[in-house]
């Protein structure tokens, strides 16, 4: 066995050990984090459920269409009290895009409708 190949064999052994070390470290790290996470887990689950209930999963146009369709069927025997639009995560992340909305909101300053 010449020198290059002997170096190669050594590198193979060391390299495989380091690879196993790295992935074992990740494996242990994940396991540890999962264990630490168990406590907070139940609480978070509850939060998630709440969030799901609140989050709007269809777009506004569809919402309007549904409302219109239902309204047509019920022939005006009810009215929409409030349509709340919850900002999606992706949008929240872009502060500049809020500007336009802010301006829009600001330019139609309306008081609450007297009932």
């Amino acid at each position: 066995m010449n020198e290059t190949i002997s170096f190669g064999v050594n590198l193979t052994i060391v390299g495989l050990c380091i690879t196993f070390a790295a992935l074992a470290a990740i494996s242990l790290g994940v396991a540890l984090m999962r264990w630490l996470d168990e406590k907070g887990h139940l609480r978070e689950e509850r939060e998630k459920q709440l969030a799901l209930e609140k989050e709007q999963t269809i777009d506004n146009l569809t919402l309007v269409l549904i409302a219109a369709a239902v309204g047509t069927m019920l022939q005006g025997r009810f009215y929409i009290r409030s349509v709340r639009r919850i900002p999606l995560i992706g949008e929240r992340a872009s502060p500049w895009s809020m500007q336009g909305r802010a301006v829009l909101l600001g330019s139609h300053v309306v008081g609450r409708k007297p009932s």
Binding site: A24, I26, L28, G29
Partner: protein
Amino acid sequence: MDILFNFLQTGAVGNFSWGNLIMLLVGGFFLWLAITKDYEPLLLVPIGFGILVGNIPYAYGMNIGVYETGSVLSILYQGVTQGYYPPLIFLGIGAMTDFSSMLSNPRLILLGAAAQAGIFATFLGSLYLGFSLKDAAAIGIIGGADGPTAIFLSSKLAPQYLGAIAIAAYSYMALVPVIQPPIIKLLTSKRERLIRMKPSKPVSRRLRVLFPIMGFLLTAFIAPGSLTLLGMLFFGNLLKESGVTERLAKTARSAFIDIVTILLGLTVGTSTDAHRFLTPDSIKIFALGAASFGVATASGVLFAKFMNLFLKEKINPIIGAAGVSAVPDSARVCQVLGAKEDPQNFLIMHAMAPNVAGVIGSAVVAGVLLATLGG
């Protein structure tokens, strides 16, 4: 008439070679594989068309070719030679990868380490065939079954073989559904292939946010040579999971990765002109590559069986084969093989764990090889 004569001299008439014709057929074959067989089309279409572009016969000196300094193709090819396309692709991959399956069953991560034995087997084989240490390391990485990692490492260690290594890596990745099943069947019993694994528990958002940070720190501390690739992979994943940078993650996994993929695939293809590509070394590289996929698959399966000796909840050894990376094809192979024995056995989720761990694993190996042999 002189003009016509000179013009023809600069073109196909004056520069035709049979090697170019063979390579044009190879490029056509790649396109056929991608378009009609749907094998890795996002890479084989650009690479296949690139092979056509790179093998049009014409006279050197018109400042067109990928190897002529200042040509457009050579400028676009810089992302390959300087090695920045692969990390940018890893950024996008990170932004589209869901590590949940790996997080919900961390012991499966080790399978992604075992399959890297294929890299080292090929490395030793290449040394034995007379390649230098650097070249052998670059050839070995084919066994990592991960295109960007292979291109990144060979651009640093063996740029002259980059084309052959990249083509070999993507070819075998496309052929994973052909290569892996017989090896897996050979090494497992029907009873083993019937093992059902427990559905994994859901993973909390906190864990998914913390994982890319922790994963990056651990791998970078242990193997800093993998920092460029894994830094980008975990950074992309943090953009995806943080919940506050969704617009960046979306761009990283759509427009950004698409642009880089187009440029990378096309220019890697063009770099395979017959003169450089049709050599005995390329044939050796392809043979070594095939071997490396076989060894990697076998290592993954056998290590799963080895782990079963110690575990109460047995692992279905089929999913060891997914440790070679080749995401997500090899995980699909596992699913198909498992479903053949038991149609209600959903292995794919479990197979994704070693599958993405294999990506990390081969990047770590690339880091080790780079740190030891590079510079």
